[in-house]
């Protein structure tokens, strides 16, 4: 009897991925938990293990396909052993969470090629080779059944209205006693969502692209999953956040001396004492003083979500594109610890070892372009966060102090924030606080 294998839930908010490659062929014997395909999702490459053992009967996808959660991947002809192991999987999810077998068992990339679509073969193959060098990324628990519908307090008629309108009833706020959702609540939600949608395209529907080829040669390449996701995320942030950018500069002459003085010691411990590491500590202290900069706006409920934790994202430039790993509990770590962790996580990002978990849960983001150059810029708020701190390259400038110009090392700071929640005066105060903390490092233990 054939058991079907559908793409399991991969994590929150992940609905699909690009199939980098299939690790098995028709007729192959697979064991339970053996990785059968490699998927590039949002920002991590994932190996998906088989929930059952048996022989691969048919494969329904090919390399390069975009596959959705729940989509049929392949069928496995199970012997009795297969059925049994499927049963054990269901009974003991923790057993299934064990790390998948290494790729050694998987056939070489050349043999798994499943006749890619014409024109796609080149891109797909080169990607396969690029991926082959990198190790396994995220082990997954196989999900055997589709998730049950949550117990939403709504009458069947209200649930039907929601389905007909394409509204996820779980997202609707119930106005009745105990949060009971009426059909009117559903309609209200839909109207609000529609309103937001209208605001998004407000006046500027993207016109269709011209035929670029009439001006010269062009080449079209598919967007990588990361590029596509970044594009979607940025567009969403741009449309949903009322962004304003505040600029300031910090005199870091003194800080730079200290930084140089201690950088060797930090290096010995395995970290790198960078401006970003110091800025992390400063930001964490600033967020304690100005908690609204770590909040989120819930317009649907008319609430502000304050977070009692301090995880801060750091933008990392990688070959594959922009990644934002999140450093946990920045407020509870010292600069030395942050330096070490920052070096490690940036390295992980560049080596494609970041897991999805490591890119979630941030309350604030820091992006430092100082390594490249430039003065000020206006970073885009990393929605649903409400503020992002941009750092540029510091440079010596003449500063008028006590009746004369003195050469001082000035660091340009750019703070983009969501004006829905944060007023301009607060943003100016926040950024001044950050600048002063960088100017007078002693302020940190004194006030932070």
């Amino acid at each position: 009897m054939a058991t079907e294998f559908r793409l399991p839930e991969l994590g929150e908010n992940i609905k699909s991925g690009d199939l980098v490659r299939i690790l098995v062929s028709v007729g192959d014997a697979v064991s339970q938990d053996q990785p059968v395909l490699e998927l590039e999702t949002d920002k991590a490459t994932i190996e998906v293990p088989s929930p059952v053992a048996g022989k691969v009967r048919e494969i329904f996808v090919k390399n390069g396909d975009k596959v959705n959660v729940g989509q049929l991947i392949l069928t496995v002809d199970g012997d009795t052993g297969a059925a049994k192991s499927a049963a054990t999987t269901a009974a003991k999810p923790e057993a299934a969470a064990a790390a998948p077998t290494r790729r050694a068992e998987a056939p070489a990339s050349g043999t798994v090629k499943e006749t890619p679509a014409p024109g796609e073969s080149l891109g797909a193959e080169s990607r396969v080779q690029a991926e082959a060098a990198s190790p396994v990324v995220v082990p997954l628990k196989p999900v055997t059944e589709m998730g049950a519908h949550p117990l939403v307090p709504a009458a069947p008629s209200a649930r039907r209205v929601a389905r007909e309108m394409g509204v996820d009833i779980g997202a609707v706020h119930g106005s009745g006693p105990g949060g009971r959702i009426s059909a009117e609540d559903v309609r209200h939600y839909a109207r609000a969502a529609l309103g937001a949608g209208e605001a998004r395209t407000w006046g500027v529907a993207a016109p269709s692209l011209p035929d670029f080829a009439k001006w010269g040669e062009v080449e079209r390449k598919p967007m990588s999953q990361i590029r596509r996701k970044t594009a979607e995320h940025m567009a969403q942030a741009w449309a949903n956040v009322c962004q304003v950018t505040q600029f300031d500069q910090a005199d870091v002459t003194h800080l730079e001396e200290i930084r140089k003085q201690y950088s060797e010691r930090v290096e010995k411990s395995g970290g790198k004492l960078t401006v970003t590491a110091i800025a992390l500590k400063v930001a964490a202290a600033a967020l304690k003083v100005f908690p609204q900069f770590a909040a989120s706006v819930d317009m649907a409920r008319g609430e502000i979500v304050y977070k009692k934790y301090c995880h801060i994202g750091v933008a990392v430039d990688t070959e594959r594109g922009l990644l934002v790993p999140v450093i946990r509990d920045v407020d509870r770590k010292n600069i030395l610890q942050l330096s070490i962790e920052l070096s490690q996580i940036a390295e992980k990002a560049r080596n494609k070892k970041l897991t999805l978990d490591e890119m979630e849960g941030g309350v604030f983001t820091i992006t430092n372009l100082g390594g490249i150059g430039g003065t000020y810029f206006s970073p885009i708020v990393n929605y649903p966060e409400v503020a992002i701190l941009g750092i540029s390259r510091s440079r010596l400038e003449p500063v008028y102090i006590r009746g004369q110009f003195e050469p001082r090392l000035m660091l340009p700071l750019s703070l983009s924030y969501d004006h829905r929640l944060i007023d301009g005066a607060d943003a100016a105060r926040f950024l001044r606080w950050v600048a002063e903390a960088l100017e007078q490092p002693f302020l940190l233990p004194l006030q932070g």
């Binding site: 054939a2 058991t3 079907e4 105990g178 009971r180």
Partner: protein
């Protein structure tokens, strides 16, 4: 002779309560529909060999029981004489009336009823065979509603006329002197109740540590207390290890806590260990339908299988194996085929055990809540405090509500007592509507009825039940 060819928009394979509900709704929505089933009329297991005949017999069983109890109320009847032939004929007439009625309804709706056995030629064509020949039936959509059959246990003399399954037990060939029921689930207990009332000495053997495994113990205990009097013995945590067909009966060896020394002999043995889905539909391999390792056809929320043309509903599409779940799925599948945005997403599917007393529950049970580690509060109203139960001399009952302690939503309802199966409908509605315990408490229920116990259970939640004093919890 080449087979006759027909074409239809929708074909429903299987004429049980799922299949005919689907076929009739599809016709009502304007589809051209064929319904395929081997029986003369629609009805399926439910009407021919399940719900309906068993309930007819249980009604008689209850009457017999009550006539015996009447002596307590000053009315003495002579011991009843049972004419098994006439009883069987009456039961068959009930089945005939209902299935005949369904045949009529199919005609009135222009549903083409094709008597025969279906096999799939591909994802768009069926072949239906019967005694008079074969026809090819092309379809745009098909709904698989082939139901389930009684499960058997290996190593028993299955062909022996002394070994019954639910189908043959309902045929009521005779009333055996002694009957062993293997399996303490609802089928075994219902049929055991029937045969006990008709005069059989009934023994029940169950592997688990209680009857009705999975149901809340406080409900089952009320039933078990009564069944202990009705049945000769109930052997729990006990297994049948050997069964041999001998001249004078079936000789059975047991193992476990309730096992008696040596072998026991029974005139008949009823195997009631569950049901298996009929997913071995001929030619299903010619379609893209996938059957999972437990034998159920894989379906999505619309009940669509992995073959986009083919849907599956009822027992063959998964648990719980209940007629009313099948009907609801059938309607969902048809609406999906008709292009409506629908999904099978009940918050509560009622389950009823038609024993005496009946047990019924829906939504989240207390047992399940504990298993999930979900905090709930349970409000109980014992029927000893119900006036109506007292007038029936049936205070062996309990109504309970499983309530979300934060929101006070009713998450589950469980009832044991006479008529529990009818009372549970209110609980299902409450859960589906997202009712609070307060809503039930504030709804006027008719006095004096057993339905009041639902309201009274809600009152006990707030510590203010008129008829039952329970000190308030802080």
């Amino acid at each position: 002779m080449s087979p006759e060819s027909h074409a239809t928009q929708l074909v429903v394979v299987g004429g049980g309560p799922g299949g005919y509900a689907a076929a009739f709704l599809a016709a009502d929505l304007g589809m051209q529909v064929a319904l395929v089933d081997p029986e003369a009329n629609p009805g399926g297991v439910c009407l021919y060999r399940g719900c309906i005949p068993s309930k007819a017999l249980l009604h008689v069983a209850k009457l017999i029981e009550e006539s015996r109890l009447a002596v307590n109320w000053g009315v003495k009847f002579a011991e009843p004489k049972i004419d098994v032939g006439k009883l069987r004929a009456w039961k068959d007439s009930v089945v005939g009336k209902l299935t005949g009625g369904l045949g009529q309804l199919a005609k009135q709706r222009n549903v083409r009823y094709v008597r025969g056995t279906a096999s799939f030629l591909d994802s768009k064509t069926l072949s239906v065979k019967n005694q008079s020949g074969e026809e090819k039936l092309a379809f745009e959509h098909a709904i698989l509603a082939t139901g389930s059959r009684p499960a058997m246990i290996p190593g028993i003399p299955q062909d022996s006329p002394r070994v019954l399954d639910s189908t043959s037990a309902l045929e009521l060939a005779d009333v055996p002197k002694s009957l062993l029921v293997v399996g303490g689930g609802y089928i075994g207990l219902e049929l055991g109740t029937v045969y006990a009332a008709l005069g059989s000495k009934v023994s029940v053997v169950e592997m688990e540590d209680g009857l009705m495994p999975g149901a809340d113990r406080d409900l089952v205990n009320v039933l078990a207390k009564r069944l202990e009097k009705v049945f000769q013995s109930i052997m729990l945590k006990t297994k049948v290890v050997e069964m041999k067909d001998a001249d004078k009966g079936i000789r059975v060896k047991f193992e476990g806590e309730g096992a008696k020394n040596g072998e026991q002999a029974y005139d008949k043995v009823l195997i009631a260990v569950g049901r298996k889905p009929n997913s071995n539909v001929p030619g299903l391999g010619n379609t893209k339908v996938i059957v999972n390792s437990r034998g159920y056809v894989q379906v999505n929320a619309q009940r669509q299988t992995t073959d986009p043309n083919i849907y599956a509903i009822g027992d063959v599409a998964g648990e719980p194996l209940l007629a009313h779940k099948a009907s609801h799925e059938g309607r969902t599948a048809v609406e999906a085929i008709a292009g409506h945005k629908v999904a099978f997403e009940p918050r509560a599917i009622p389950a009823v055990v038609f024993t005496d007393p009946e047990i019924a529950w829906c939504g989240l049970s207390e047992t399940e809540a504990q298993k999930q580690g979900r905090p709930v509060r349970v409000a109980k109203f014992p029927w000893g405090a119900s006036g109506r139960a007292a007038t029936l001399d049936r205070t062996d009952g309990l109504t309970k509500l499983v309530i979300d302690p934060e929101t006070e939503h009713v998450l589950g309802v469980g009832i044991v007592g006479v008529g529990a199966g009818d009372l549970i409908a209110e609980g299902v509605l409450a859960i589906e509507m997202g009712a609070l315990a307060k809503d039930i408490e504030l709804t006027i229920h008719p006095h004096p009825t057993l339905s009041e116990t639902v309201m009274q259970a809600a009152e006990t939640y707030y510590g203010t039940a008129t008829d039952f004093y329970r000190p308030k919890k802080k």
